[in-house]
C-alpha cells in the first residue's frame, strides 16, 4: 500500500499524444476512478502507472520512489484486466498462487494465503476448478484475488466490470468496494461509466484527449465542474451560454451570477410546470417534446426556443398529463445554477 503520484506525464504514440502533461495524486488507501470517453487515454495512464509503458516525459512515483523506468515485473503492482486474463491452463488456486510462486514463497505459506484470499472473495472450495468451469462473476473474483494476494502497493483495474451484465455489475461494485476497504489498498479504477465511478470512488479524475480535465471528490466535481465537458461527463447537464444569444427563449426570467463562461443546470434541479411559476426563480418557457416514465420519475425533453433541447427529471409524475407539444415552463432555484469557468 502506498501513495502514487504522476507528474507532468506525456506519452506519445507517433504523432498522437495519448497523455499530455498529466499530473495527478492518488492518496494512500484511496479509491480513485479515472473517467473519460473511449480513446481519452485512461488505459494508457494505467499502463504507465503499471509499468507496461515508459512515459516520454514526466515522473511516476510509487511510495515516494521514482519508478518511471522500472519495468512492470519489478513494480509490485496488482492489475485486473477487462477480460480477466486468467491463465486457462492453471487451476483457480494455481492462478491465485502464481504471484507467490514467482516470489518463491514456500508451498505451505502459499496454500495458506491463497485460501485466505479466496475466502475474502467468497470463492472458498473452488480452488481446484479451471477458469473455463467458472461463471463470469466467479472469474472476476479469481482475477481480483490473484491481483491482491501478493500485497501489491497499488491495485490497478481497467474497466473490470464492463463484461458483466447490469445486475451482476452492481453486485460486484458493492463487493469490490467492500474488499478494497477491508484490504485498504490504494486502488485506481478505469471506467467510462460515470455512475460506477460515483458508486465506488472517493476521488475521481476526468480525462479528455489525453489531458486531465478535473480531479477531486465526486461531489465537488459534480457541483463545480471546471468546464462544460466535465459538467456533461459527470452526470447530465443543461448548458446556458454566456452571454445569452438574443434569440434565446423569449420571455425567459433569468438571474445569473456574473463572470462565468457558461452555466449548467442539472436535470434533477428543474421543475416542470404548465404555467409560469410565481416565485422569484429562474424560469424558461419551452415546448414539451417527449416524456418517458421510469418508475418513480419521468424524464422529459423540452425544446427551448433558440437554446436547443433541455433534459428534465420530473419527480412529480402525478402532475396532470401534458400532451407532447404542450407549452411548459422550466424553473430552478438560484443556487442550482452552476457557473462554469471564468469569462
Amino acid at each position: 500500500m502506498a501513495e502514487v503520484s504522476v507528474r507532468g506525464v506525456t506519452m506519445r504514440f507517433g504523432e498522437l499524444k495519448a497523455l499530455d502533461d498529466v499530473t495527478l495524486d492518488f492518496v494512500d488507501g484511496g479509491f480513485f476512478a479515472l473517467l473519460g470517453p473511449s480513446g481519452s487515454g485512461k488505459t494508457t495512464l494505467l499502463r504507465v502507472i503499471a509499468g507496461f509503458l515508459f512515459p516520454d516525459e514526466g515522473e511516476v512515483r510509487i511510495a515516494g520512489q521514482p519508478v518511471e523506468r522500472v519495468p512492470v515485473e519489478k513494480r509490485e503492482i496488482g492489475m485486473m484486466f477487462q477480460n480477466y486474463a486468467l491463465f486457462p491452463n492453471l487451476t483457480v488456486a494455481e492462478n491465485v498462487g502464481f504471484g507467490l510462486r514467482v516470489r518463491h514463497v514456500d508451498r505451505a505459506e502459499e496454500r495458506r494465503r491463497v485460501g485466505e484470499v479466496l475466502e475474502l472473495v467468497q470463492l472458498e472450495g473452488l480452488g481446484r476448478r479451471r477458469p473455463k468451469e467458472l461463471s463470469g462473476g466467479q472469474r472476476q473474483r479469481v482475477a481480483l484475488a490473484r491481483a491482491i494476494v501478493t500485497n501489491p502497493k497499488v491495485l490497478l483495474l481497467d474497466e473490470p466490470l464492463s463484461a458483466l451484465d447490469k445486475a451482476l455489475r452492481v453486485d460486484m461494485q458493492i463487493e469490490l468496494k467492500r474488499i478494497q476497504r477491508e484490504v485498504g489498498i490504494t486502488t485506481i479504477f478505469v471506467t467510462h461509466d460515470q455512475e460506477e465511478a460515483l458508486t465506488l470512488a472517493d476521488r475521481i479524475g476526468i480525462l479528455r484527449d489525453g489531458r486531465l480535465v478535473q480531479a477531486g471528490p465526486p461531489r465537488e466535481v459534480y457541483n463545480a465542474p471546471v468546464d462544460s465537458f466535465a459538467a456533461r461527463f459527470l452526470g447530465e447537464a443543461n448548458l446556458l451560454p454566456s452571454p445569452l444569444p438574443d434569440t434565446f427563449a423569449e420571455g425567459a426570467r433569468l438571474a445569473l451570477p456574473e463572470g462565468a463562461a457558461a452555466y449548467a443546470v442539472r436535470p434533477e434541479a428543474l421543475t416542470l410546470t404548465p404555467t409560469p411559476p410565481e416565485d422569484d426563480v429562474n424560469a424558461l418557457p419551452g415546448r414539451l417534446v417527449q416524456r418517458v416514465f421510469a418508475g418513480s420519475m419521468a424524464t422529459c425533453v423540452v425544446d427551448i426556443g433558440g437554446g436547443g433541447t433541455w433534459k428534465v427529471i420530473d419527480r412529480d409524475p402525478d402532475l396532470p398529463q401534458l400532451p407532447e407539444g404542450a407549452a411548459v415552463w422550466l424553473s430552478w432555484d438560484a443556487e442550482d445554477t452552476i457557473p462554469i469557468g471564468a469569462a
Binding site: 515485473e73 509490485e76 496488482g78 484486466f81 486474463a85 491452463n89 504471484g99 514467482v102 501478493t150 490497478l156
Partner: protein
Amino acid sequence: MAGTLNAGEGRRAAGLLAPAYLWLTLAVFMPLSAMLFFSFLTAPPFGNEPVAATLANYFAFFETGTYGRLLWKSVKLGLWVTGLCILIGYPCALVLAKQIRGRAREALFLLVILPFWSNSLVRIFSWAIVLRGNGVLERALDLVWPGDVRLGLMFTPAAVVIGLVHSYLPYVILTSYLALQAIDDDIIAAARSLGAGRLTILRRLVLPLSLSGLLAGAVLIFVPVVGSFMEPRILGGRFGTYYGTVVEDQFVAVFNWPLGAALSFILLAVVLLILALSSPILRKGLQ
C-alpha cells in the same frame, strides 16, 4: 448433432457428404487396399509369373536384421529432424507471433512459406549445390574464414538432416504460430504484472498453452520423415540407405511390389504404435 437430424435432413446431409466420402474412398482407401492386397501376393498380379497368396513378404522383414536396423535408423532420423525443427521453428514462431507486428510479420511469413512453393526436387538439388565440396557454402566460408575450409558435408547424414529440416520446418512454424497467436496478450501482461520474468512465462504459460500446436507440427514432420527417400538418396550418398529408400527400391528398381507394400505397412504400423505409445505422455503435457 447427427442424432438431432430427422430422416429428410439425414438424407440431404448424406447427399451433401457423398462426394467427400467418394473422394476419400478413391483417394485413400482404394490405393491403400490395393497395396494391402499386393502385400499378401507372391508376385505383382500384372507380371507373367503365377500369383499366390503368402505371408512371406511380412516374414521377410524379420528374416534378416537389415530391415529392422534401417527402420531404427529412419526413426532416429525422424527424431533428429523433428527435434531440430522444433528447436529452430518454435522460437521463430514465438518471435513471429509475439514480437513482430504489421508489415514485417507478413514479409517474414512469406519467407517461411516459400519452401512450400518450390518443387521438392529443386529444393533438394539446390542443397546439393550449396553443400557439395567446393560448393556455395564452402566458397562463401572461404571468403570470410582465413585458410582452407573443408566441411565435407555433402553425402553425409548431416546433409540429409539439413535437407529434411529445411523441407519440413514450415510445418512446425505454422502450427506453433497458430497456437501462439491464440494466446491473449493480456495473459502475458497479467503474468508480468505478477512479477514473472520471461522464462517463467514461457515455461508455465506460453509453452503449455501452445503445446498442442507444437505437437501437431511434430507429428506432421515425424511421420513423413521416417518414410522419406528422396533427401537420403540425393544428399546422403553412400550413407543414404534408409528404410524409405529400400521401400522405394522395391517399387522402382527391383519391381518386387509385394515386398515394398509389406514393408510400407510395417512402417505404418510402427509409426502408429509410436504415436499411440507417446499419446498418453502428450495428452498429459496438454493438461
